[in-house]
Amino acid sequence: MVRLLLRFTEEQVPQPIASQIILECKVPMAILTAHINSKGGEILAEVPDEAQEKIIKAFRERGVTVTVPKLIEVDAEKCFSCGSCVALCPVEAISIDKDFIVQFDKEKCVGSTCSICVDACPARAIKSVKQNTEQTVINRKK
């Protein structure tokens, strides 16, 4: 499975773009998080690997910004395993093992649509990393 971050502009919000694409491509799409209001928003979706290209193309044709987010990065050098982030994580992607070492599960992390842990790290070891920044910047300027 591949995670895609879909960004919708104000004009795209009223259109049933995601459902059209699901029907057209006949591909199941799991929506992991969604933050949308009348001004636009983001959806984090999970799609099968083999369908990834087709889906990305379909969304882009309709003007939706699609990024394959690298999401959250933890600097293992900086992290001293205080654990401040652990209880904050809504998807339990961060845990503390029996030796009290903080473990981060990239697979579970929903990334930049959440980022709840980023500003709670006293060591500033957690960074929210976004890919395809050029495209997102263009979209935001509109």
Binding site: F80, G83, S84, A87, A120, P122
Partner: protein, 471 residues
């Protein structure tokens, strides 16, 4: 030791164990470093100084400075501070120093800029006036908004909890009567050897909130055990690794060092209440805290540590290997620390106003009243805000004279069309300043005062605030 006492009993443990090593690694804000720069040519008597843009203070003569861990960088406030400067110096990094002075006949220089490493300093001593808290609160937030505290980020409505302290590994928990820990005790401090130089500020051993004042040569310390930290919207601090060896001099100490997390309790405190005495929701053991979740009011709340238990273990293990290798010799204290004092609150000669002191009864209406009736009430009672309540007197909404005017202009008749449901409120025991800031922040002129069950107790308006200020 703990396992040995449990399996073989105190007597055997006393015979077999010579020393128990302990450790803690937490954010210790009352930390800092004293440095001496040496004299410049021409000499300067520093008035103001900054290291990597962090203001440092000049408590003594011309070129002595104190770097406080919580002082923040003027260029990157809340991200980089005194704790980071100390860590950078300990790591051998170059730090920029800038200073100004008024100039005297003996110290004529008024400006100074240079870069320094720890090797350039005459003295670089860690001097922490409050470290090693015996235990600490568990923090939660019952309000509707996320708050950022020195206990880190607390999500609204009890969505998380944080705690600090090493529990059964904490040095003071293993020697609660200060039999072996006293002035002059040699300790592990920041990766080097340091000393206890007395009781810490706010030392409160009687209720198991003891603290220590410590010092050590920071030139020998390691940045791994002295880490600058940034707490969003609170400020900067420093994590300090501190460990103490406890010689098992008697059976009593063997028993005391066998203490378990399940025997150490602390309070769950609601940090959303901006008062000195915050509500305590329950007592909780460190065993429960380390389990990852605790129950509060029948709700399972996920809890995580702020201090590093991994590093606390590393401190105690490093200390153990130093002792085994003969690199660290234990000392007996030259003077005992107080074991029965308590921490007093501040004497205040000026009272600050609370919402309770200015609030007055609210003019209310029910949800099914007509706008016309409400308009009349606004006129007869001469108020601008009508609080909408249900039969039990609980808050439902608010209507202002402006809402009524607009309803008239737009020909609306139903209260439901014009009332605001999402109402900002105040609590009676909240400082007025905080309620007043809330009004300014949301550009509103009144806050209904409600109790914990949303029952309306009164109202506080911006007029009340200005009247008080104009007195």
């Amino acid at each position: 030791m703990k396992k040995l006492v449990e399996s073989s009993g105190v007597e055997i443990a006393f015979k077999e164990v010579d020393v128990v090593t302990t450790g803690t690694f937490g954010a210790m804000c009352s930390s800092g470093a004293v440095i001496n720069l040496g004299h410049s040519d021409p000499p300067i008597k520093i008035d103001h100084a900054w290291m990597n843009e962090v203001e440092v203070c000049h408590p003594g003569a011309a070129v002595d400075l104190f770097i406080g861990a919580t002082n923040m960088s003027e260029k990157q406030p809340f991200e980089y501070g005194g704790g980071h400067v100390i860590q950078d110096l300990a790591a051998g990094k170059e730090v920029e120093l800038r200073a100004t002075a008024y100039g005297t006949d003996c110290y004529p220089r008024t400006q100074l800029k240079t870069t320094l490493t720890k090797d350039d300093l005459n003295q670089f001593y860690l001097l922490n006036f409050r470290n090693c808290y015996q235990r600490y609160n568990c923090a939660v937030n019952t309000s509707d908004e996320t708050i950022y505290t020195y206990m880190s980020k607390l999500l609204p409505r009890l969505r998380n909890a944080t705690f600090s302290g090493a529990g059964e590994l904490n040095p003071l928990m293993n020697d609660p009567d200060y039999e072996t820990i006293g002035m002059g005790t040699r300790i592990f401090l920041g990766g080097a050897q340091g000393y206890v130089i007395g009781e810490g500020t706010q030392h409160s051993p009687k209720n198991l909130n003891g603290t220590l004042m410590v010092k050590g040569d920071a030139k020998k310390m390691s940045p791994e055990f002295l880490q600058g930290a940034a707490f969003t919207r609170y400020g900067t601090s420093m994590y300090v690794g501190l460990g103490i060896p406890i010689p098992i001099l008697n059976e009593g100490l063997a028993k005391k060092t066998a203490i378990r997390d399940s025997q150490i309790f602390t309070d769950v405190v609601d940090y959303s209440v901006p008062r000195r005495d915050r509500p305590k929701l329950r007592q909780v053991s460190y065993k429960e805290l380390k389990s990852g979740s605790i129950m509060i009011n029948d709700k399972k709340v996920r809890v995580s540590s702020l201090s590093s238990l991994k590093m606390a273990k590393k401190v105690s293990q490093s200390l153990k290997s130093w002792i085994e290798e003969g690199m660290f010799l234990l000392t007996s204290p030259v003077e005992r620390l107080p074991s029965d004092s308590v921490f007093k609150p501040m004497r205040q000669t000026q009272e600050i106003p609370f919402v309770m002191s200015v609030m007055h009864p609210a003019v209310t209406c029910s949800e099914n009243e007509e706008i016309r009736a409400i308009a009349e009430r606004i006129v007869t009672k001469s108020v601008n805000h009508i609080v909408v309540v249900d039969d039990a007197g609980k808050l439902k909404g608010i209507v202002t004279s402006w809402d009524i005017t607009r309803a008239m202009a737009e020909g609306k008749k139903a209260l439901a069309d014009i009332e605001t449901h999402n109402v900002f409120t105040a609590k009676p025991d909240e400082p007025l300043e905080i309620a007043s800031k809330r009004m300014a922040q949301h550009n509103i002129s009144a806050l209904p005062v409600v109790d914990i069950e949303k029952k309306v107790l009164g109202i506080v308006t911006s007029e009340d605030v200005s009247k008080l200020l104009g007195r």
